[in-house]
Protein backbone atom coordinates (compact mmCIF):
# COMPACT_ATOMS: atom_id res chain seq x y z
CA UNK A 1 0.00 0.00 0.00
CA UNK A 2 2.91 2.28 0.87
CA UNK A 3 0.60 5.05 2.03
CA UNK A 4 -2.29 4.75 4.42
CA UNK A 5 -5.47 6.74 3.76
CA UNK A 6 -4.93 9.22 6.58
CA UNK A 7 -2.93 12.22 5.46
CA UNK A 8 -2.88 15.97 5.30
CA UNK A 9 -2.03 17.25 1.85
CA UNK A 10 -1.39 20.82 2.84
CA UNK A 11 0.71 21.75 -0.18
CA UNK A 12 1.15 19.69 -3.32
CA UNK A 13 2.83 20.27 -6.66
CA UNK A 14 1.74 18.87 -9.98
CA UNK A 15 4.18 20.46 -12.36
CA UNK A 16 6.80 17.74 -12.70
CA UNK A 17 6.97 14.81 -15.05
CA UNK A 18 8.45 11.45 -14.10
CA UNK A 19 10.11 9.05 -16.49
CA UNK A 20 10.53 5.97 -14.35
CA UNK A 21 8.25 3.63 -12.48
CA UNK A 22 7.92 4.06 -8.76
CA UNK A 23 5.70 3.24 -5.83
CA UNK A 24 3.93 5.99 -3.98
CA UNK A 25 5.44 7.20 -0.74
CA UNK A 26 8.98 7.51 -2.06
CA UNK A 27 10.86 10.77 -2.10
CA UNK A 28 11.41 12.32 -5.50
CA UNK A 29 14.32 14.59 -6.38
CA UNK A 30 15.14 16.86 -9.27
CA UNK A 31 16.05 15.07 -12.47
CA UNK A 32 16.16 17.81 -15.09
CA UNK A 33 14.97 21.36 -14.87
CA UNK A 34 12.43 23.38 -16.73
CA UNK A 35 12.54 27.09 -17.22
CA UNK A 36 10.22 29.71 -15.87
CA UNK A 37 6.83 28.42 -14.78
CA UNK A 38 7.64 25.18 -16.60
CA UNK A 39 4.13 23.88 -16.13
CA UNK A 40 4.16 21.67 -19.20
CA UNK A 41 7.80 21.31 -19.99
CA UNK A 42 8.97 17.75 -20.12
CA UNK A 43 12.35 19.00 -18.96
CA UNK A 44 10.82 19.67 -15.57
CA UNK A 45 11.13 16.13 -14.33
CA UNK A 46 11.78 14.26 -11.14
CA UNK A 47 13.13 10.83 -10.27
CA UNK A 48 13.31 8.66 -7.21
CA UNK A 49 16.20 9.71 -4.99
CA UNK A 50 19.32 7.77 -5.86
CA UNK A 51 21.98 9.68 -3.96
CA UNK A 52 22.29 11.38 -0.59
CA UNK A 53 23.28 14.54 -2.42
CA UNK A 54 20.07 14.74 -4.45
CA UNK A 55 17.87 17.80 -4.08
CA UNK A 56 14.40 16.85 -2.77
CA UNK A 57 11.20 17.96 -4.50
CA UNK A 58 8.42 16.08 -2.78
CA UNK A 59 6.90 12.82 -1.67
CA UNK A 60 5.33 10.85 -4.51
CA UNK A 61 1.56 10.49 -4.11
CA UNK A 62 0.88 8.39 -7.24
CA UNK A 63 2.04 4.99 -8.30
CA UNK A 64 3.95 5.38 -11.56
CA UNK A 65 3.52 2.36 -13.82
CA UNK A 66 4.68 1.28 -17.22
CA UNK A 67 1.83 -0.43 -19.06
CA UNK A 68 1.33 -1.14 -22.71
CA UNK A 69 -1.67 1.14 -23.08
CA UNK A 70 -2.37 -0.17 -26.54
CA UNK A 71 -3.17 -3.53 -24.94
CA UNK A 72 -4.68 -2.59 -21.60
CA UNK A 73 -5.96 0.48 -19.89
CA UNK A 74 -4.59 2.07 -16.78
CA UNK A 75 -6.16 1.08 -13.47
CA UNK A 76 -8.94 3.62 -13.14
CA UNK A 77 -9.65 2.51 -9.60
CA UNK A 78 -6.20 3.45 -8.38
CA UNK A 79 -4.40 6.75 -8.49
CA UNK A 80 -1.67 5.60 -10.79
CA UNK A 81 0.08 7.37 -13.63
CA UNK A 82 1.75 6.09 -16.71
CA UNK A 83 5.50 6.53 -16.81
CA UNK A 84 6.28 9.77 -18.61
CA UNK A 85 3.25 11.57 -17.23
CA UNK A 86 2.90 14.16 -14.54
CA UNK A 87 2.94 13.14 -10.93
CA UNK A 88 1.59 14.68 -7.77
CA UNK A 89 4.20 15.52 -5.14
CA UNK A 90 3.59 16.37 -1.50
CA UNK A 91 5.76 19.24 -0.34
CA UNK A 92 4.09 20.06 2.96
CA UNK A 93 1.76 17.93 5.02
CA UNK A 94 1.82 14.55 6.64
CA UNK A 95 1.36 10.98 5.48
CA UNK A 96 1.40 7.54 7.09
CA UNK A 97 3.94 5.48 5.21
CA UNK A 98 5.91 2.25 5.36
CA UNK A 99 8.64 3.49 3.02
CA UNK A 100 11.01 3.54 5.96
CA UNK A 101 14.64 2.53 6.13
CA UNK A 102 15.84 1.27 9.51
CA UNK A 103 14.68 2.29 12.95
CA UNK A 104 13.09 5.67 13.51
CA UNK A 105 12.51 7.83 16.55
CA UNK A 106 9.52 10.05 16.97
CA UNK A 107 10.42 13.71 16.97
CA UNK A 108 13.64 13.27 15.06
CA UNK A 109 14.22 14.81 11.69
CA UNK A 110 13.41 12.67 8.71
CA UNK A 111 15.86 12.23 5.86
CA UNK A 112 15.87 10.19 2.70
CA UNK A 113 18.23 7.48 1.54
CA UNK A 114 19.12 6.25 -1.96
CA UNK A 115 16.03 4.42 -3.16
CA UNK A 116 13.70 7.13 -1.91
CA UNK A 117 12.64 5.74 1.46
CA UNK A 118 13.00 7.67 4.69
CA UNK A 119 15.28 7.29 7.66
CA UNK A 120 15.80 8.89 11.01
CA UNK A 121 18.34 11.52 11.97
CA UNK A 122 20.40 8.91 13.79
CA UNK A 123 21.10 6.93 10.63
CA UNK A 124 24.82 6.73 9.92
CA UNK A 125 24.57 8.65 6.66
CA UNK A 126 21.67 10.62 5.40
CA UNK A 127 20.54 13.44 3.18
CA UNK A 128 19.30 16.91 3.94
CA UNK A 129 16.27 16.71 6.17
CA UNK A 130 12.83 16.69 4.52
CA UNK A 131 10.51 16.43 7.49
CA UNK A 132 10.00 15.01 10.92
CA UNK A 133 8.75 11.73 12.38
CA UNK A 134 5.48 12.17 14.21
CA UNK A 135 5.02 8.62 15.50
CA UNK A 136 6.79 5.31 15.85
CA UNK A 137 6.08 2.37 13.55
CA UNK A 138 2.86 0.44 14.05
CA UNK A 139 2.64 -3.34 13.89
CA UNK A 140 2.52 -3.19 10.10
CA UNK A 141 5.59 -0.96 9.83
CA UNK A 142 3.77 2.31 9.13
CA UNK A 143 4.65 5.60 10.79
CA UNK A 144 3.37 9.14 10.59
CA UNK A 145 5.75 11.38 8.72
CA UNK A 146 5.55 15.11 8.31
CA UNK A 147 6.94 16.31 5.01
CA UNK A 148 8.18 19.86 4.94
CA UNK A 149 10.50 20.64 2.08
CA UNK A 150 11.79 24.17 2.30
Amino acid sequence: MALRPTRNEFLTDLSFFMNETAERGLLCVFDSQGSGAAMDQSEASVKVASSLDDKPVGLLLNDVVNLDLTRQHINYDKDEMQKGGKVLLLRHGFVVTDQISGAITMGERAHFVPGGSFCSNSASSHSVHVGRWLSKKDSDGYAKLEINII
Binding site: T6, N8, E9, N75, D77, K78
Partner: protein, 334 residues
Amino acid sequence: MSKKFFEPTPEMNQLLSRAGSLQREESLAATSELAKALELPLRQGVMSGNILDGIFEAINLQPGATAEFPLDFLAPGTEKEFVAFTIPNHGRIPERHVEGDYVMVPTYDVGASIDWLLKYARDARWDVVGRAMDVLQGQFVKKMNDDGWHTLLSAGADRNILIYDGDASSGMFSKRLVSLLKVVMRRNGGGNSTSINRGELTDLYISPEGHEDIRNWGVDEVDPVTRRDLIVGEGGLLVRIFQVNLHTLDELGEGQEYQNFYTTDLSGTMPAGKNEIVVGLDLRNNDSFVMPVRAPVQVFEDEALHRQRRAGMYGWAEHGFAALDTRRVLLGAF
Protein backbone atom coordinates in the same frame (compact mmCIF):
# COMPACT_ATOMS: atom_id res chain seq x y z
CA MET B 1 -31.11 -35.90 -15.82
CA SER B 2 -32.38 -34.40 -19.05
CA LYS B 3 -34.55 -37.16 -20.43
CA LYS B 4 -37.52 -34.88 -20.36
CA PHE B 5 -35.89 -32.64 -22.92
CA PHE B 6 -35.38 -35.42 -25.39
CA GLU B 7 -38.51 -37.48 -25.21
CA PRO B 8 -39.39 -38.03 -28.84
CA THR B 9 -42.62 -36.78 -30.33
CA PRO B 10 -43.82 -38.00 -33.73
CA GLU B 11 -42.60 -34.73 -35.24
CA MET B 12 -39.19 -35.14 -33.71
CA ASN B 13 -38.98 -38.71 -34.94
CA GLN B 14 -39.80 -37.49 -38.39
CA LEU B 15 -37.23 -34.75 -38.10
CA LEU B 16 -34.64 -37.21 -37.01
CA SER B 17 -35.50 -39.56 -39.85
CA ARG B 18 -35.06 -36.71 -42.30
CA ALA B 19 -31.75 -35.90 -40.64
CA GLY B 20 -30.67 -39.38 -41.59
CA SER B 21 -31.72 -38.97 -45.21
CA LEU B 22 -29.12 -39.75 -47.80
CA GLN B 23 -30.18 -36.61 -49.64
CA ARG B 24 -27.61 -34.11 -48.44
CA GLU B 25 -29.87 -31.04 -48.57
CA GLU B 26 -32.66 -32.75 -46.70
CA SER B 27 -30.27 -34.18 -44.12
CA LEU B 28 -28.50 -30.87 -43.46
CA ALA B 29 -31.74 -28.94 -43.23
CA ALA B 30 -33.16 -31.41 -40.76
CA THR B 31 -29.93 -31.53 -38.76
CA SER B 32 -29.90 -27.76 -38.62
CA GLU B 33 -33.45 -27.76 -37.29
CA LEU B 34 -32.43 -30.42 -34.82
CA ALA B 35 -29.55 -28.26 -33.57
CA LYS B 36 -31.86 -25.32 -33.03
CA ALA B 37 -34.42 -27.50 -31.31
CA LEU B 38 -31.81 -28.87 -28.97
CA GLU B 39 -29.96 -25.63 -28.26
CA LEU B 40 -32.48 -24.13 -25.89
CA PRO B 41 -32.99 -27.20 -23.71
CA LEU B 42 -29.25 -27.68 -23.74
CA ARG B 43 -28.71 -24.21 -22.34
CA GLN B 44 -31.33 -24.81 -19.71
CA GLY B 45 -29.80 -28.12 -18.89
CA VAL B 46 -26.36 -26.67 -18.47
CA MET B 47 -27.59 -24.08 -16.03
CA SER B 48 -30.05 -26.17 -14.06
CA GLY B 49 -28.52 -29.60 -14.02
CA ASN B 50 -25.24 -28.80 -12.43
CA ILE B 51 -23.75 -28.43 -8.98
CA LEU B 52 -22.98 -24.76 -9.40
CA ASP B 53 -26.57 -23.66 -9.01
CA GLY B 54 -27.00 -20.88 -6.52
CA ILE B 55 -23.27 -20.39 -6.03
CA PHE B 56 -21.97 -18.47 -9.03
CA GLU B 57 -23.81 -15.48 -10.35
CA ALA B 58 -23.88 -15.63 -14.13
CA ILE B 59 -23.22 -12.21 -15.61
CA ASN B 60 -23.90 -11.91 -19.31
CA LEU B 61 -21.41 -9.59 -20.97
CA GLN B 62 -22.34 -7.41 -23.88
CA PRO B 63 -20.18 -7.78 -27.00
CA GLY B 64 -16.94 -5.92 -26.51
CA ALA B 65 -17.42 -5.53 -22.78
CA THR B 66 -14.56 -6.49 -20.50
CA ALA B 67 -15.06 -8.72 -17.50
CA GLU B 68 -13.81 -6.20 -14.95
CA PHE B 69 -15.04 -6.26 -11.41
CA PRO B 70 -14.27 -3.39 -9.01
CA LEU B 71 -13.14 -4.23 -5.51
CA ASP B 72 -14.24 -2.46 -2.37
CA PHE B 73 -11.71 0.10 -1.21
CA LEU B 74 -12.28 -1.20 2.31
CA ALA B 75 -9.98 -4.16 1.91
CA PRO B 76 -9.81 -6.84 4.59
CA GLY B 77 -7.54 -5.72 7.39
CA THR B 78 -7.84 -2.01 6.66
CA GLU B 79 -10.96 -1.43 8.72
CA LYS B 80 -8.88 0.05 11.54
CA GLU B 81 -7.84 2.87 9.21
CA PHE B 82 -11.37 4.20 9.16
CA VAL B 83 -12.22 5.20 12.70
CA ALA B 84 -13.32 8.69 13.66
CA PHE B 85 -11.05 10.53 16.03
CA THR B 86 -11.28 13.20 18.68
CA ILE B 87 -10.84 16.72 17.37
CA PRO B 88 -10.17 19.99 19.15
CA ASN B 89 -12.61 22.85 19.05
CA HIS B 90 -11.37 24.07 15.75
CA GLY B 91 -8.85 22.83 13.21
CA ARG B 92 -8.52 21.26 9.82
CA ILE B 93 -9.51 17.62 9.82
CA PRO B 94 -6.98 15.46 7.91
CA GLU B 95 -8.02 13.73 4.72
CA ARG B 96 -8.84 10.06 4.41
CA HIS B 97 -7.93 9.33 0.83
CA VAL B 98 -9.32 6.06 -0.52
CA GLU B 99 -8.71 4.16 -3.72
CA GLY B 100 -9.87 0.82 -4.94
CA ASP B 101 -8.72 -1.76 -7.37
CA TYR B 102 -10.28 -4.12 -9.85
CA VAL B 103 -9.81 -7.60 -11.13
CA MET B 104 -10.31 -8.79 -14.65
CA VAL B 105 -11.77 -12.26 -14.88
CA PRO B 106 -10.49 -14.02 -17.97
CA THR B 107 -13.07 -15.82 -20.04
CA TYR B 108 -12.18 -18.79 -22.14
CA ASP B 109 -13.74 -20.90 -24.86
CA VAL B 110 -15.20 -24.28 -24.13
CA GLY B 111 -16.13 -26.61 -26.95
CA ALA B 112 -17.69 -30.04 -27.25
CA SER B 113 -19.10 -32.23 -30.00
CA ILE B 114 -20.93 -35.46 -30.57
CA ASP B 115 -21.73 -37.39 -33.71
CA TRP B 116 -23.51 -40.57 -34.69
CA LEU B 117 -24.05 -42.78 -37.68
CA LEU B 118 -26.77 -41.81 -40.07
CA LYS B 119 -28.04 -45.34 -39.71
CA TYR B 120 -29.03 -44.55 -36.17
CA ALA B 121 -30.97 -41.54 -37.27
CA ARG B 122 -32.49 -43.26 -40.26
CA ASP B 123 -33.82 -46.02 -38.09
CA ALA B 124 -35.17 -43.48 -35.62
CA ARG B 125 -33.13 -44.92 -32.80
CA TRP B 126 -34.04 -41.95 -30.68
CA ASP B 127 -32.72 -43.61 -27.55
CA VAL B 128 -29.22 -43.66 -29.01
CA VAL B 129 -29.33 -40.12 -30.33
CA GLY B 130 -31.03 -38.88 -27.20
CA ARG B 131 -28.26 -40.43 -25.22
CA ALA B 132 -25.75 -38.74 -27.50
CA MET B 133 -27.41 -35.43 -26.71
CA ASP B 134 -27.18 -36.22 -23.02
CA VAL B 135 -23.49 -36.80 -23.45
CA LEU B 136 -23.05 -33.51 -25.32
CA GLN B 137 -24.84 -31.75 -22.51
CA GLY B 138 -22.85 -33.67 -19.95
CA GLN B 139 -19.61 -32.51 -21.49
CA PHE B 140 -20.48 -28.89 -20.85
CA VAL B 141 -21.95 -29.60 -17.43
CA LYS B 142 -18.93 -31.54 -16.28
CA LYS B 143 -16.50 -28.93 -17.55
CA MET B 144 -18.37 -26.10 -15.87
CA ASN B 145 -18.79 -28.01 -12.62
CA ASP B 146 -15.10 -28.75 -12.44
CA ASP B 147 -13.98 -25.24 -13.37
CA GLY B 148 -16.37 -23.65 -10.89
CA TRP B 149 -15.51 -25.95 -8.04
CA HIS B 150 -11.82 -25.80 -8.73
CA THR B 151 -12.17 -22.04 -8.35
CA LEU B 152 -13.94 -22.45 -5.00
CA LEU B 153 -11.44 -24.99 -3.71
CA SER B 154 -8.50 -22.86 -4.81
CA ALA B 155 -9.98 -19.83 -3.05
CA GLY B 156 -10.51 -21.89 0.10
CA ALA B 157 -7.02 -23.37 0.03
CA ASP B 158 -5.55 -19.93 -0.55
CA ARG B 159 -6.86 -18.79 2.83
CA ASN B 160 -4.63 -21.36 4.50
CA ILE B 161 -7.28 -22.06 7.13
CA LEU B 162 -8.65 -25.56 7.65
CA ILE B 163 -11.20 -26.05 10.40
CA TYR B 164 -11.65 -29.37 12.15
CA ASP B 165 -13.19 -30.82 15.28
CA GLY B 166 -10.28 -32.23 17.24
CA ASP B 167 -12.58 -34.18 19.50
CA ALA B 168 -14.42 -35.99 16.72
CA SER B 169 -13.40 -39.46 15.59
CA SER B 170 -11.42 -39.72 12.40
CA GLY B 171 -13.71 -39.51 9.38
CA MET B 172 -16.75 -38.63 11.50
CA PHE B 173 -18.77 -35.57 10.56
CA SER B 174 -19.82 -33.86 13.77
CA LYS B 175 -22.19 -31.01 14.37
CA ARG B 176 -19.46 -29.25 16.34
CA LEU B 177 -17.57 -28.95 13.06
CA VAL B 178 -20.47 -26.92 11.70
CA SER B 179 -20.37 -24.79 14.81
CA LEU B 180 -16.64 -24.20 14.49
CA LEU B 181 -16.97 -23.29 10.84
CA LYS B 182 -19.66 -20.76 11.69
CA VAL B 183 -17.50 -19.09 14.29
CA VAL B 184 -14.41 -18.90 12.09
CA MET B 185 -16.42 -17.58 9.15
CA ARG B 186 -17.73 -14.89 11.47
CA ARG B 187 -14.38 -14.08 13.07
CA ASN B 188 -12.62 -13.70 9.75
CA GLY B 189 -15.41 -12.08 7.80
CA GLY B 190 -14.78 -8.51 8.91
CA GLY B 191 -17.07 -6.11 10.74
CA ASN B 192 -18.50 -6.58 14.20
CA SER B 193 -21.58 -8.03 15.86
CA THR B 194 -24.08 -5.73 14.21
CA SER B 195 -22.42 -5.13 10.85
CA ILE B 196 -24.67 -5.39 7.85
CA ASN B 197 -23.75 -8.01 5.25
CA ARG B 198 -21.01 -9.48 7.37
CA GLY B 199 -19.66 -12.92 6.62
CA GLU B 200 -21.87 -15.80 7.66
CA LEU B 201 -21.75 -19.51 6.91
CA THR B 202 -24.92 -20.34 5.02
CA ASP B 203 -24.16 -23.51 3.07
CA LEU B 204 -21.96 -26.49 3.69
CA TYR B 205 -20.96 -29.02 1.04
CA ILE B 206 -19.98 -32.45 2.30
CA SER B 207 -19.52 -35.94 0.95
CA PRO B 208 -22.39 -38.45 1.03
CA GLU B 209 -20.39 -40.40 3.61
CA GLY B 210 -20.18 -37.37 5.84
CA HIS B 211 -23.87 -36.74 5.48
CA GLU B 212 -24.63 -40.33 6.39
CA ASP B 213 -22.57 -39.91 9.55
CA ILE B 214 -25.50 -37.90 10.85
CA ARG B 215 -27.45 -41.13 11.12
CA ASN B 216 -24.84 -42.43 13.51
CA TRP B 217 -24.83 -39.48 15.83
CA GLY B 218 -25.17 -40.76 19.37
CA VAL B 219 -27.33 -39.47 22.19
CA ASP B 220 -24.51 -37.14 23.11
CA GLU B 221 -24.97 -35.42 19.75
CA VAL B 222 -28.74 -35.31 19.28
CA ASP B 223 -31.81 -36.05 21.33
CA PRO B 224 -33.70 -39.36 20.95
CA VAL B 225 -36.61 -37.79 19.07
CA THR B 226 -34.27 -36.42 16.42
CA ARG B 227 -32.47 -39.74 16.22
CA ARG B 228 -35.77 -41.46 15.58
CA ASP B 229 -36.57 -38.95 12.85
CA LEU B 230 -33.23 -39.67 11.25
CA ILE B 231 -34.25 -43.30 10.93
CA VAL B 232 -37.92 -43.15 10.06
CA GLY B 233 -38.39 -39.67 8.66
CA GLU B 234 -39.04 -38.94 5.00
CA GLY B 235 -35.61 -38.57 3.49
CA GLY B 236 -34.25 -39.46 6.86
CA LEU B 237 -31.49 -36.92 7.04
CA LEU B 238 -31.00 -33.44 8.34
CA VAL B 239 -30.61 -30.90 5.61
CA ARG B 240 -30.03 -27.90 7.85
CA ILE B 241 -28.00 -27.54 11.04
CA PHE B 242 -27.53 -24.30 12.96
CA GLN B 243 -29.13 -22.35 10.08
CA VAL B 244 -26.58 -23.86 7.69
CA ASN B 245 -27.86 -25.73 4.64
CA LEU B 246 -26.19 -29.08 4.05
CA HIS B 247 -25.50 -30.26 0.52
CA THR B 248 -23.95 -33.51 -0.54
CA LEU B 249 -21.48 -33.66 -3.40
CA ASP B 250 -20.43 -36.96 -4.91
CA GLU B 251 -17.17 -35.32 -5.91
CA LEU B 252 -16.21 -34.85 -2.26
CA GLY B 253 -14.99 -37.66 -0.06
CA GLU B 254 -11.96 -39.86 0.28
CA GLY B 255 -10.42 -40.66 -3.09
CA GLN B 256 -12.95 -38.51 -4.93
CA GLU B 257 -11.91 -36.02 -7.53
CA TYR B 258 -12.38 -32.77 -5.63
CA GLN B 259 -10.63 -34.23 -2.60
CA ASN B 260 -7.83 -35.31 -4.91
CA PHE B 261 -7.76 -31.89 -6.49
CA TYR B 262 -7.29 -30.35 -3.06
CA THR B 263 -4.51 -32.68 -1.95
CA THR B 264 -2.73 -33.20 -5.28
CA ASP B 265 -3.23 -30.15 -7.48
CA LEU B 266 -3.43 -27.60 -4.68
CA SER B 267 -0.97 -29.47 -2.43
CA GLY B 268 -3.41 -29.01 0.43
CA THR B 269 -2.59 -30.67 3.71
CA MET B 270 -4.97 -32.56 5.97
CA PRO B 271 -4.83 -32.45 9.77
CA ALA B 272 -3.71 -35.67 11.44
CA GLY B 273 -6.56 -38.13 11.63
CA LYS B 274 -8.76 -36.22 9.20
CA ASN B 275 -9.58 -37.71 5.84
CA GLU B 276 -11.73 -35.40 3.78
CA ILE B 277 -12.59 -31.78 3.34
CA VAL B 278 -15.87 -29.94 3.57
CA VAL B 279 -16.53 -26.64 1.85
CA GLY B 280 -18.39 -23.88 3.64
CA LEU B 281 -19.75 -20.96 1.66
CA ASP B 282 -21.36 -17.65 2.43
CA LEU B 283 -24.07 -17.39 -0.19
CA ARG B 284 -26.02 -14.69 1.59
CA ASN B 285 -24.23 -11.71 0.15
CA ASN B 286 -23.74 -12.88 -3.45
CA ASP B 287 -20.73 -10.60 -3.69
CA SER B 288 -17.94 -13.01 -4.40
CA PHE B 289 -18.68 -15.82 -6.81
CA VAL B 290 -19.12 -14.53 -10.33
CA MET B 291 -19.29 -16.23 -13.67
CA PRO B 292 -18.96 -13.76 -16.53
CA VAL B 293 -20.53 -15.23 -19.65
CA ARG B 294 -19.31 -13.76 -22.90
CA ALA B 295 -21.21 -16.28 -24.99
CA PRO B 296 -23.71 -18.86 -23.74
CA VAL B 297 -23.71 -22.37 -25.12
CA GLN B 298 -24.43 -22.39 -28.84
CA VAL B 299 -25.02 -25.59 -30.79
CA PHE B 300 -24.51 -26.10 -34.52
CA GLU B 301 -24.96 -28.97 -36.94
CA ASP B 302 -21.82 -30.45 -38.42
CA GLU B 303 -22.08 -30.30 -42.20
CA ALA B 304 -18.81 -32.04 -42.86
CA LEU B 305 -19.79 -35.45 -41.56
CA HIS B 306 -22.30 -36.34 -44.22
CA ARG B 307 -19.72 -37.86 -46.54
CA GLN B 308 -18.69 -40.17 -43.76
CA ARG B 309 -22.32 -41.20 -43.34
CA ARG B 310 -22.48 -39.56 -40.00
CA ALA B 311 -24.33 -36.64 -38.48
CA GLY B 312 -23.46 -34.64 -35.46
CA MET B 313 -23.54 -31.50 -33.42
CA TYR B 314 -20.91 -29.32 -31.95
CA GLY B 315 -21.08 -26.31 -29.74
CA TRP B 316 -19.11 -23.81 -27.79
CA ALA B 317 -19.40 -21.30 -25.05
CA GLU B 318 -17.18 -18.66 -23.50
CA HIS B 319 -17.19 -17.94 -19.83
CA GLY B 320 -15.00 -17.62 -16.75
CA PHE B 321 -15.16 -18.12 -12.99
CA ALA B 322 -13.88 -16.09 -10.08
CA ALA B 323 -14.08 -15.87 -6.31
CA LEU B 324 -13.68 -12.15 -5.75
CA ASP B 325 -13.64 -12.39 -1.95
CA THR B 326 -12.05 -15.47 -0.44
CA ARG B 327 -13.58 -14.69 2.93
CA ARG B 328 -16.78 -16.21 1.53
CA VAL B 329 -15.15 -19.66 1.33
CA LEU B 330 -13.98 -21.73 4.26
CA LEU B 331 -12.63 -25.26 4.21
CA GLY B 332 -13.02 -27.76 6.99
CA ALA B 333 -12.02 -31.36 7.53
CA PHE B 334 -13.33 -34.42 9.33
